[in-house]
Symmetry: C2
Subunit: 285 residues, 2 copies
Amino acid sequence: MALDESWFTETVDKTGTAFSLKLGERVHAEKTPYQEIAIYRTASFGYLMTIDGCTMVSTRDNFLYHEMMSHPALHSHPDPRDVVIVGGGDCGTLREVLKHPQVRRAVQVEIDERVTRLSEQYFPELCASNGDPRATLYFGDGIAWMKQAPAASLDLVIIDSTDPVGPAEGLFGRKFYVDCLQALRPGGLLVQQSESPLLHLELIVDMHRAMRQAGFAQTRLLHFPQPIYPSGWWSASIAQKTAGGLAQRLEPAAIAALDTRYYNAQTHAAAFAVPNFVAQALAAG
Amino acid sequence: MALDESWFTETVDKTGTAFSLKLGERVHAEKTPYQEIAIYRTASFGYLMTIDGCTMVSTRDNFLYHEMMSHPALHSHPDPRDVVIVGGGDCGTLREVLKHPQVRRAVQVEIDERVTRLSEQYFPELCASNGDPRATLYFGDGIAWMKQAPAASLDLVIIDSTDPVGPAEGLFGRKFYVDCLQALRPGGLLVQQSESPLLHLELIVDMHRAMRQAGFAQTRLLHFPQPIYPSGWWSASIAQKTAGGLAQRLEPAAIAALDTRYYNAQTHAAAFAVPNFVAQALAAG
């Protein structure tokens, strides 16, 4: 059947796929200096924010993405004190990061302040920790921010950006990774959303290569379900400044205290289980 | 944007979601005594078979479903010799089952012979093992077949059916599970596709309850990505005739010999990692 305007549809011509959510109605739309943002009330996923026609965040399923962009990387670092989130304007990743008592400073560097203001309005639960004294909401260019970051001042860089086209393109390249590397302390980690293992495997391989070319010692992939993103299967890539195994800080009491809906010690390990076809592509890359 | 007829779209009104694949063209359509089957050539997923408007199998991503409906359950049984597949007419699950040298007999009980004949034509790779001397392709009603199955004659029942509406509805209830239980040997397992953890959690809870009410000692959930199914995140449920831990037959050489694209020892374990919100629902159910 054909879909009419009572659905929000994100079509991805390159992958020949589309995902739709029944509306509701569009409750907000604006063109910022950076992008077009819209907010919809959907029939079954709560609110949906889109940027340039791509699904960004929904009330119902954002917990998957936000938990898996933060907790696996935080528990893979022995002592993550200083964290920066590049992008992440909906503040959901920031909220998860601040659940970790070790974190003493978390800076969210979002280029488009309107994303955050709209999130405060339509996704207030994601902004619940914006007033945390450890949090800084900085609105500006992540690439410029990272270039001037003091050397060895960060433990974890989380790149929670839109797709590698438009404003976020520069966040997926060797030059930016070099700046991240110098801003990280020894043992530091970078984690970046890296699209769908099924649909964007070539991009994932390119990203890992660029991370290593930038000087990162090792890269890892993790993956998790994310229904509103293309294919419903999403990934993040971790780059390690220093070679060696990742920390596995999986104390039951600390994990229980996170009060997560998807993440636990089992799903932490599960996220790092690399399917054969992905392992083969990464090994060949 | 609205989607026109150059896309195949499966809409699920109840969940307010839709998934679309760019076409290609429709290369076949027929109404059988049981259902409407169509075959499309898609732009990026190879061929797509649909039944009653629902995506069933695509060339590109069926490996996820077929591997995860078979290998985790087969490796959870200490010695799976006699296997029956209820449904599974595309023969992809049968092909995976027959990769296991322990299996001495695999019967595929598909109600609609046309599904298999069309799979032979458009998905010949899935039918590559149909001539295996251990395989029997039986076309008939799975419920009736199970009712007359000799007691304690099977080690593994795989229910690889369409959604629990229409012809497959009877495969999701206590009565059918009772018949499966009596047909299983001690230590036997039933594994059934159980829809999306995000969208159909209530159904999953109901299924596990019905399995236990039928007399199965224990139930488990496993999950995996499946992009063409609603939400892109799918599950299977295992019911154990006998209480206790599942066998973990994960010998590296045996797993390598399966020549799988998603499945390996890591993804085996990952599939059984139950997210908190699912564990809570199952515990309350």
